[in-house]
Amino acid sequence: MTFLYSFLFCGFVCLIGQIILDNTKLTPGHVTSLFVVIGAFLDSFGLYDKFIKWFGSGTLVPITSFGHSLIHGALAKANESGILGLLGGMFSLTSVGIVAAIVFGFILTLIFKAKD
């Protein structure tokens, strides 16, 4: 069942993004930034963790989970080592995605050329 829930959740988030893009003058950059903030906001009540439990790993795919991972790592570290942990643990969960995007992007940039 988590397959269906993953599909519906991820699709629903994208649908909201598309509605915002179609009906306002916001660019994709605005929408993704907004969604990251929303993801962080939802996780400050622990709500996003429940989404992951209910709907499976598909909830980690939309950019909202980036905000969730940021605050999640920060709070986990803060519980461990005090208020400084908010700074130290910020990227502890998201570094996989960021580093992968940087490294793959750079290597592929060396190999390929931009179209036209």
């Binding site: 649908l15 598909g58 905000g67 995605g97 940087i102 940039t109």
Partner: protein, 146 residues
């Protein structure tokens, strides 16, 4: 020609964007990527004995690699035009933005081109994500005890 007259004429010629169709496409494509992510995690867990936490990380890496490769090969842009938010909102959009801004500025050199522009589009996502997480995290840590 005044502005109103211009609008009147162009509104007849310019095709109206079908918002319902765009929404459905975004829903289906986005859903499919979430579905794919869940499949990768389940396959890794059941067939390769990977722990759940590692499986989700590998899933993210696989999706980012596919998106970066498609961007570098040059056909991701066409897909984005068709699928719109369905590809922008998932993590694939993040990888696409990063790779395409590096590729676009490759001709300006390694430092002033690729280096300076790598985060041109994804920078705002990281900046606002970090600021929001810091503010919300501080509030939760100080007032609700983490």
């Amino acid at each position: 020609m005044n502005k109103e007259r211009y609008k009147e004429i162009t509104s007849k010629i310019v095709p109206k964007e079908d918002k319902v169709k765009n929404g459905i496409i975004a829903f289906l494509v986005g859903g499919l990527i979430g579905f794919l992510g869940e499949i990768i995690v389940v396959v890794l867990e059941n067939n390769f004995n990977v722990e759940h936490k590692d499986a989700t990380s590998i899933m993210i890496v696989i999706l980012i690699f596919i998106a970066s490769l498609c961007t570098a090969l040059g056909f991701f842009d066409n897909l984005v035009v068709k699928a719109k938010a369905g590809l922008i909102v998932p993590i694939t959009g993040f990888a696409h933005a990063m790779t395409s801004s590096m590729l676009d500025y490759k001709k300006e050199g390694f430092v002033t081109g690729i280096g300076a522009n790598a985060f041109k589009l994804t920078g705002s996502v990281i900046l606002y994500g970090v600021v929001a997480a810091y503010v919300f995290g501080t509030i939760r840590y100080l007032f609700f005890g983490g």
